[in-house]
Symmetry: C2
Subunit: 293 residues, 2 copies
Amino acid sequence: MPIIESVPNFSEGRRPEVIAALVEAIQAPGVLLLDHSSDADHNRTVITVAGEPNAVLEGVFRAVAVAAQKINLFEHRGEHPRIGATDVAPLVPIEGITLEECVGLAHRLGRRIGEELRLPVYLYAAAATRPERKRLPDIRRGEFEGLLETIHLPERTPDYGPAEVGPAGAVVVGARPFLVAYNIYLQTPDVEIARNIAKAIRESSGGLPAVQAKGFLVEGQAQVSMNLLDVEVTPLHVVFTEVQRLAEAQGVAIDRSELIGLAPERVIRAAAAHFLKLGGADNVHTVEGAMRR
Amino acid sequence: MPIIESVPNFSEGRRPEVIAALVEAIQAPGVLLLDHSSDADHNRTVITVAGEPNAVLEGVFRAVAVAAQKINLFEHRGEHPRIGATDVAPLVPIEGITLEECVGLAHRLGRRIGEELRLPVYLYAAAATRPERKRLPDIRRGEFEGLLETIHLPERTPDYGPAEVGPAGAVVVGARPFLVAYNIYLQTPDVEIARNIAKAIRESSGGLPAVQAKGFLVEGQAQVSMNLLDVEVTPLHVVFTEVQRLAEAQGVAIDRSELIGLAPERVIRAAAAHFLKLGGADNVHTVEGAMRR
């Protein structure tokens, strides 16, 4: 059974009854609620769900419909940039499904939102139909208020739905790989070492592809804090081994590492397979995996 | 949701209709059939199932009942030693359940088989009630034919059920840790090196606890073949690291390793956690694990 995750962001983080309605709506049959958190300053709620693709698409669609009914962007204020009541809804492959298949699902979800809810929909990330729509900040530039003025311009034509903006704004739908938040703590209080390693490994300064990294001092210990944007491109064990190499070159050992939040089992299997020389995650067969199939 | 596995062995490996009836009976609601294999020479069938404890207990009980109806030990011939129609039914903790809790389940299953099917039941392994019943070969000594003569002796008194032997013989029920079959291939055709490493690491010659090991030559490559009887005691990564150390001391590298069959995800998480310094399997949280809960 293929499993996807979705992490829709809604522009409401203050009214408990609206948040509760979103959390309830998204739980269509077969949808598992993994997490939800609301931030009053950002005035925003992030819900994490997983399940079989059809179930997740149905749940997200229902929540998008509730958000469009109950959230009015003309009245919305918050620190976080936003373009719609459902600001963004990424679809993420977890198991037994490819990113390319999630692109197909994003089109299906986007088309349904456009046709049935009459909302403008933009596709982003791996589902983008134009290069300038790959990055979410580019689509969101000018936010809801700017979109009111610009939606009739050719470069703003939605991928699905009408070129008209109502109180629910637009919805950005897409497909992207799973993001792994990963920290490595060094046996040193010298934050400069963590900053240098972070600079050496992050993609933006010529390091490892699909890796974002910063150095911090956390409770007196140097920490390399990372987002791994695509662990198929740069897996966990490559990051660990490279940080270890760079740290040891400066006479510093790795103290420990930590995974923030949930990771797909495949990522863990790949790391174990690497260190045990098992020849890849596909050679690791688990009882639980067999039960899911 | 706790998950256990059971791997009952039945004394029938030839009559397809009996094998089919066992495979059908064991699949009570909630029971997942992971594997089954029959051997005509051994005249024996091994079925692997997993699921929530109550479901697995119900399925195994149903299969034991079918075996008792359809298998007559007075007529059974095969190479493998056996004491009953259902020769042995181990319960194995997979996730969210301890070995001690599986001991409790073994008592429940044993009592039900004894009371409802009127079969003599012996508890073994972690569920044994006497030290001399820990090991399966000790309980099975003399096999079915011997038991006919000895069941009235005090040392043969069943743990549950009557001290009487009918055509279905006795059932041995127990709880044991998951067994991981694990092979490591060395970059050498010298089988003596594999044999020396096997001797150094197996428990029986003073090596690592809960490890059985032998050296083989497989397609021109030296292989250390192991059964890890309790990966809580000696985990996969300890075995790998120790074999690597011993091989390198003789100037030989590890080529690759392989897991035979299924392993619980916990074992894989523990290995990844060790090499990534995550501080133990409990610090690894997966999307799939969250979905199961």
